[in-house]
Amino acid sequence: MPIILENVSFSYSRKTPLETPALREISLRIEKGEFVGILGEKGAGKSTLTKLFNGLLRPEAGTVRIDGLDPSSKEAKRRIGMVFQQAADQLFCRTVYEEIAFGLLNFGYSKREAEERIYEAIDSVCLDQAALSRDPFSLSGGEMQRVALASALALRPDYLVLDEPITGLDPAGKKEILDTLRKIKNMGTAVITVTHNLKGFFPLLERVVLIKEGRITFQGSRESYLEKGCVPLPPIASMMKELRERGIPVNPAAFTVEDALEEILRVKSAFEKGSSLTATEGN
């Protein structure tokens, strides 16, 4: 069973003079095991959308169902793990162990059960078990974010919802988080992330949802998103698009350095073989 949103609308400060519409008639379906990127400008409604998934906000119209459950039910909340941009906004315990235990105890797991899950969670975010006894605030930005991820994963959610998980981290921290997310996704958990870092996330995304002024303006595979090219693309993807426009037949789905290298070399040898071949014919 998936996450299903049907005609969902939401406004902040409803029925007050400060009412501001945030989302309008959103319909969305997210299957188990998917990796979905929610893109859009600041204030487009991306973060509002994620808060609807676990009942932090309730829609004013339309329905949200998590595997058929009401999102504010305890079971639905367990199935949705959430991690926000700044891990520092939620860490408060003296050790990483207690930090991960917080969520588990809130959901009523026994100490023994919690312990087993804590070890499992710390493994799944590729942190050393020795880190469990450390002060979360002595960790690097990337490590802190992974502790936040672990505290969500300890509940064994089916969907992991992230709000700008790599913004503000340095390149090493970004890579740590992206590698961890790839692993989490491969273990079968759906990952839904709000991001504006296309370059970092693009190789991971399977599907892209673009939100503009509270409405979904695009929804589809990342390949079709590239074709449409409605926002600035990461440099490699943009370069490949330029090549195609100039009549060089490269695969538009190449957006990593390795892919691009392979594509260019392939085209190069093709050009060398048939020297009569011109660029336009090659397309």
Binding site: K42, P171, P235, E242, R246, K268
Partner: protein, 274 residues
């Protein structure tokens, strides 16, 4: 302009942040500083602006020693810093009011303050947001407003400490473009970042690691330095692609790696010739 002589600095808890740094920033230069978190870049920014006094060594900003309290206001007038988070840099309820904060501290007369504010608004193209609350601006506009707040003090040297790291890529590019425009108008720029991509046009790049300057040079030589990878600083993807192509005998000149358009054009040129 700004000279660091054998500057060392340790945090209050004893961990060293900078170790024996010698550095001169020349007038009109665009200096890029890059390094991982905790490499000492931000401490360097605070030293360069006199906001932090050196533990040992000396920082001289246009002949003024930063340890001399009577020169502080002179130093502030000469060099300004824009920080990472736009939200914690605003002190005013409207953009205009916020921009006036610096000139007010310099005790300028009201007419002069208005002139400074108008100039800073014009230079960052924020005139239409004059009466808006800075909190309602988008991330990129917010960072431009923070920059305008410094510009209103008319400094000659501007230091940027990871100003784009909280922004989406498009806003980051827009802010960087504004900074480059200021550089063309003669301002001295120190741009601190952990994104090498932003330093393509710098006059000079300093790579920091553990409180020391590890690599120093023009972008072309720094980008091809093998140590860069060891420091955990990924190359811009187009540069990496060019380097990989080179091992396969396809040479992309440095100038063509500046943008995807130039890169694609260069490849077309190469292929159509064969």
């Amino acid at each position: 302009m700004i000279r660091l002589e054998k500057v060392s600095y340790s945090y209050p808890d004893g961990t060293p942040a900078l170790e024996n740094i010698n550095l001169t920033i020349k007038k009109g230069e665009f200096v890029g500083v890059i390094g991982k978190n905790g490499s000492g870049k931000s401490t360097l920014a605070l030293q360069l602006s006199g906001l932090l006094k050196p533990g040992t060594g000396r920082v001289v900003i246009r002949g003024m020693d930063t340890r001399d309290p009577s020169r502080l206001q002179g130093i502030r007038k000469f060099v300004g810093v824009v920080f990472q988070n736009p939200e914690t840099q605003f002190v005013g309820r409207t953009v205009e009011e916020d921009l006036a904060f610096g000139p007010e501290n310099l005790c300028l007369p009201p007419v002069e303050i208005r002139r400074c504010v108008d100039m800073a608004l014009a230079e960052t193209e924020l005139e239409k947001y004059r009466h808006r609350s800075p909190k309602t601006l988008s991330g990129g506009q917010g960072q431009c407003a923070a920059l305008a707040g410094i510009l209103a003090m008319r400094p000659e040297c501007l230091i940027f400490d990871e100003v784009a790291s909280m922004l989406d890529p498009e806003s980051g590019i827009a802010v960087l473009e504004t900074i480059k425009k200021l550089h063309k108008k003669g301002k001295t720029i120190v741009y601190i970042t952990h994104n090498l991509e932003e330093l393509h046009d710098a006059d000079r790049i300093l790579v920091m690691e553990k409180g020391k300057i590890k690599i120093e040079g023009d972008p072309e030589s720094v980008f091809s330095d093998v140590f860069l990878q060891d420091l955990g600083l990924p190359l811009p993807s187009l540069i990496e692609l060019a380097a990989n192509l080179k091992t396969h005998g396809v040479i992309i000149p440095w100038e063509s790696t500046t943008s995807p358009q130039n890169f694609a054009e260069e490849i077309c040129r190469l292929f159509l010739r064969t």
